[in-house]
Subunit: 245 residues, 2 copies
């Protein structure tokens, strides 16, 4: 899939959360048996493929920091080099029984493609976090995700997760790319709602329809530099933080 | 329209922003000529109708505070009594040339129907503000609005304003009701996207299709008391404000 994306001209490939390990662990012991260090096979494979195709890859992996601590992490690689690793700070569901939450704010990385912020899945549902990353300059936020299909989605509607991602892009005038898991893993059905959203909040690609998919889009990162909303408004300058106690 | 809503069993009627004055003022002088005090005809009419029908009414009006200051306000009336008045804090477009921005956070009012927060239009696009109001206990946020039709909406998509409202409801597990202006006023086309959204972020009514409309829905305000997201998560308790610098 990464090779095919590169052939199509992709500069950046985003992969789901915990992409090589799977997500639905029985317990922490099972997760530990799939966990790796940053020199383990998953990040090494990301490095190798990003070097081979001269692209960036951002993907989720199961990180073992030491005997006790596992993190739900996302690695950022560019042409073979590990630029950053982010440890998910907002854990979902049984992740709380397995992973340690990261204690550092998400990275905003100045890359050759532009300024990229990295979140993981549920993180994206905290508008204050997304806003903070956007105000640190992220033009694009990338979120490896595993969106479980939870609350039934009314007929003809998009899953709320998709709507939240679109709104997060629009209010911050940034692009957002989510790579989601699809299908069924053990007893968990996944939304499979991968998407690429532009700075107006409208989708450039996706949402994927629950099937394995390669989405691609040209994303105008320069547009994310402009927070202006007509002649009198600016999405950032119009904030009144003194009122957001 | 208010009488018809009451006949249908409405407990609360929401009206658009600046509903009686119109919105597209040539300048501050023209706005001033339409501005009123809280004892003026608009709020008096809201009071009278809310008493007559034994309902709540929340609607936008053009407030004259003194010779210099005009506010873009929303009044909250219940059965003839003025419970609160909110002065819009985030001004849009040429409003900045006409109105003084309010300096007080939006009210959260304990009413006989439940706890209701009041924003006006563009306020709703600041997730930190919506979150703050929700965390002060609002089960329902009401937003008299005038959404100008700006950025073209891609075919088959909902306007980004609607998506932002849905996401604001979903991330905070609150209901949101927006009454929007429709049609054309002077040179300004309005979205006419009124909506009522439930705590999951899915619409209970609307978006209106750009025509005059009376939307109604039963809104489960008790659902907004529960911020739980399955056995391990809580939309409020999972926040990590120390990371939202």
């Amino acid at each position: 899939m990464i090779g095919r994306a590169a052939q199509l001209g992709a500069d950046l490939v985003v992969l789901p959360e915990l992409v090589t390990s799977g997500y639905v662990f029985t317990d922490a012991d099972e997760a530990r048996s799939h966990a790796e260090s940053a020199t383990g096979p998953t990040v090494s494979l990301f490095a190798e493929l990003s070097a081979e195709h001269q692209i960036m890859i951002i993907g989720g992996w199961c990180e073992r920091a030491d005997a006790d601590r596992l993190y739900n992490s996302a690695a950022v690689l560019d042409r073979g080099e590990l630029l950053a690793n982010y440890r998910k700070t907002h854990l979902w569901g049984r992740e709380k029984l397995i992973f340690t939450p990261g204690d550092e704010a998400p990275p905003v990385i100045n890359t050759r493609l532009g300024s990229i912020g990295v979140l993981v899945c549920y993180d994206l549902e905290f508008p204050e976090l997304v806003g903070e990353v956007a105000r640190r300059g992220a033009q694009l936020i990338v979120a490896p995700s595993n969106w479980p299909a939870g609350v039934p989605v009314p007929a003809g509607e998009r899953p709320a997760e998709v709507i939240k991602a679109q709104a997060a892009a629009a209010v911050n005038r940034i692009a957002i790319a989510v790579a989601d898991r699809c299908g069924l893993e053990r007893d968990v059905p996944w939304i499979g709602g991968s998407l690429i959203c532009g700075t107006d909040g409208y989708l450039l690609a996706g949402p994927a329809a629950g099937e394995p998919a390669l989405l691609w889009a040209d994303v105008d990162l320069a547009a994310a530099q402009d927070k202006g909303l007509g002649p009198h408004n600016d999405a950032f300058a119009d904030r009144r933080p003194e009122l957001y106690r």
